[in-house]
């Protein structure tokens, strides 16, 4: 008798979902498994590129392509919004009326902006003097605004954490500094960086080593500012504890939330992120649901590099799961971010759950070619090259020369890590291959 086909359903065909589709298409026995992917958008956006659009470095054609181009040959997707997941029945209802049964479900629907969460943010100044740059429309509208803006108070505000790509607002500030200098109006632009965090960087080690960059670039830091509302008439940000910041032009990073169906399905936390095991990427509530990328609640950066490292771990664990084995692959929180600092230079940071960013060379000790926690031209070229690698290697699920586990090679360690007995690469590999 022929064995019945099983269904693996991927919700979301963005960075994480597309990578999982490509990896699982290779890894699964397709005579037994049917792969199904669902997304409401046919266009794939290269989100890291949005940052460059307001400054005229990239335009729309640099950051959009058809999703299906990155799928395995012959694969298509179901183009629909997701209405509801019913975990008790292993079932997904779509807005277009289709119902999907799953044996394994992967949630990869990311995070989205929710400017409506903040009073006054989408008021009469929205897209006139208040812009975001995390959407293509927002970034394009800001590019138009910058063309004619002749200076004043530019405020860059993070409404609340967590946000995707936590370094992007800082990169925006650095690029704005360089952009207005080039335009010859830098002295007319007062740049303020207003954040709910205690420091400009999410990682304390970065703040320690790179903190002076803000001052050097004439960017004023307003820390521990939790935006409560926007006064459109007075053009002010007002914090929950009644502090005020005036603006002429506000570049906002609104609250980030998971997809609406997560809430409808009762799968999420208060921001619709799915409670997920930070090492195995299995959902806490349901054993046959796995979560990847921005959709999780794990304490790692919401960034493409993280989704990429997770995809390798998750592929292994899905295979373990369907063979009824323990989920042996462990995600360590590895993130790797280029931070554009303006004037053709960038920093690079590499860290995980336990190890803060450290100086050194990357990915090879002594050789680099990239420098960690240092501003170099090579890092900037790395950032630009990354767009090519994203479209051509990463999305297609091919290997990059950087493993999912963070390596301590080439890093100049603080005493705390040395004395704490942090292990070397070789030890780590031995430990991992020996099973956990």
């Amino acid at each position: 008798m022929e064995t019945q086909m099983k269904n693996l359903v991927i919700l979301g065909a963005g960075t994480a979902g597309t990578m999982m589709l490509n990896k699982l298409h290779k890894a699964l026995d397709l005579s037994r498994w049917r792969l199904i992917i669902v997304d409401n958008e046919k266009t794939h956006y290269y989100q890291p590129g949005f940052l460059f659009i307001p400054f005229g470095v990239y335009n729309e054609s640099d950051v959009v392509k058809q999703k299906v181009k990155f799928f395995p040959e012959g694969m298509n997707m179901i183009n629909s919004e997701i209405w509801k997941v019913i975990p008790e029945y292993n079932m997904v209802h779509l807005d277009n009326g289709i119902t999907l049964d799953y044996d394994v479900l992967i949630i990869a629907t990311g995070s989205k902006l929710a400017p409506e969460e903040t009073e006054g943010l989408t008021g009469k100044l929205w897209k006139k003097d208040i812009f975001d740059f995390y959407t293509l429309d927002g970034a394009k509208a800001l590019a138009e605004k910058f063309k004619t803006w002749d200076g004043g108070k530019l405020v860059i505000n993070i409404t609340e954490m967590p946000i995707k790509c936590p370094v992007a607002p800082l990169e925006f500030a650095f690029l704005a500094d360089a952009f207005f200098e080039e335009r010859g109006i830098r002295e007319k632009v007062h740049i303020q960086y207003v954040t709910p965090l205690a420091e400009a960087f999410t990682k304390h080690k970065c703040a320690e080593v790179l903190g002076h960059f803000l001052e050097d670039k004439g960017i004023e830091l307003v820390a521990e500012f939790n935006t409560g509302r926007i006064d459109n008439d007075e053009k002010k940000l007002i914090s929950w504890d009644e502090r005020e910041v005036d603006f002429d032009l506000l570049v906002t990073v609104p609250t980030n939330k998971g997809a609406d169906y997560i809430e409808t399905s009762g799968l999420g936390d208060e921001l619709n992120f799915v409670p997920t095991d930070k090492h195995t990427l299995q959902s806490i509530a349901h054993k046959n649901i796995f979560v990847i990328g921005d959709a999780t609640n794990i304490p790692a950066s919401k960034a493409g590099s993280v989704a990429h490292f997770e995809s390798e771990i998750l592929t292994e664990n899905i295979l373990h799961f369907i063979h009824a084995e323990p989920l042996a692959a462990r995600f360590d929180g590895h993130a790797n971010c280029f931070i554009e600092s303006g004037r053709g230079k960038a920093f690079l940071i590499d860290f995980n759950y336990d190890v803060e960013p450290m100086p050194g060379n990357f990915p090879m000790a002594h050789i680099g070619p990239f420098s960690l926690l240092k501003e170099t031209r090579m890092n900037h070229l790395g950032k630009l090259m990354f767009r090519w690698a994203y479209w051509n290697i990463l999305l297609k699920g091919k290997e990059l020369p950087i493993g999912p586990q963070m390596s301590l090679k080439g890093k100049i360690l603080d005493d705390i890590y040395k004395s704490d007995g942090f292990i070397t690469d070789e030890q780590q590999i031995t430990k991992l291959s020996g099973g956990i």
Binding site: P196, G228, S239, D241, D269, L271, I416, D420
Partner: protein, 109 residues
């Protein structure tokens, strides 16, 4: 529970603290220590509302292993956002977690 990186003397007791300056061991905490931690945060006296939030945070931490975010606090502690900021200026989730003897909430990444 988080990794101890230093020690600190509070009320004559030597306590381990983590990289964020929060207590590393839940068991080191008591109400007197909380009052001292509050003073370090500029809160001279902990009133009934402060305790409502602190006790709620400790309960969530015991139940889930994570200190609640500001959003969860607003939704479930019975104290609204505005008042939370009045009680624990600048960063209610972070400050209340510290005073409650818990690690910094995960949302602060």
């Amino acid at each position: 529970m988080s990794a101890a990186v230093a020690e600190k003397v509070i009320l004559g007791k030597t306590l381990s603290i983590d990289a964020d300056g929060n207590l590393a061991n839940l068991s080191d905490w008591n109400e007197e220590i909380a009052a001292e931690l509050a003073k370090e945060e500029g809160i001279e006296v902990l009133n009934e509302k402060h305790w409502q939030v602190i006790n709620y945070m400790r309960k969530v931490y015991t139940d889930t292993g994570d200190a609640p975010s500001i959003r969860k606090l607003t939704k479930e502690s019975g104290v609204d956002t505005k008042e939370l900021y009045a009680l624990f200026p600048k960063g209610p989730a972070k400050k209340a977690a510290r005073i409650a003897g818990l690690p910094k909430p995960k949302g602060c990444i």
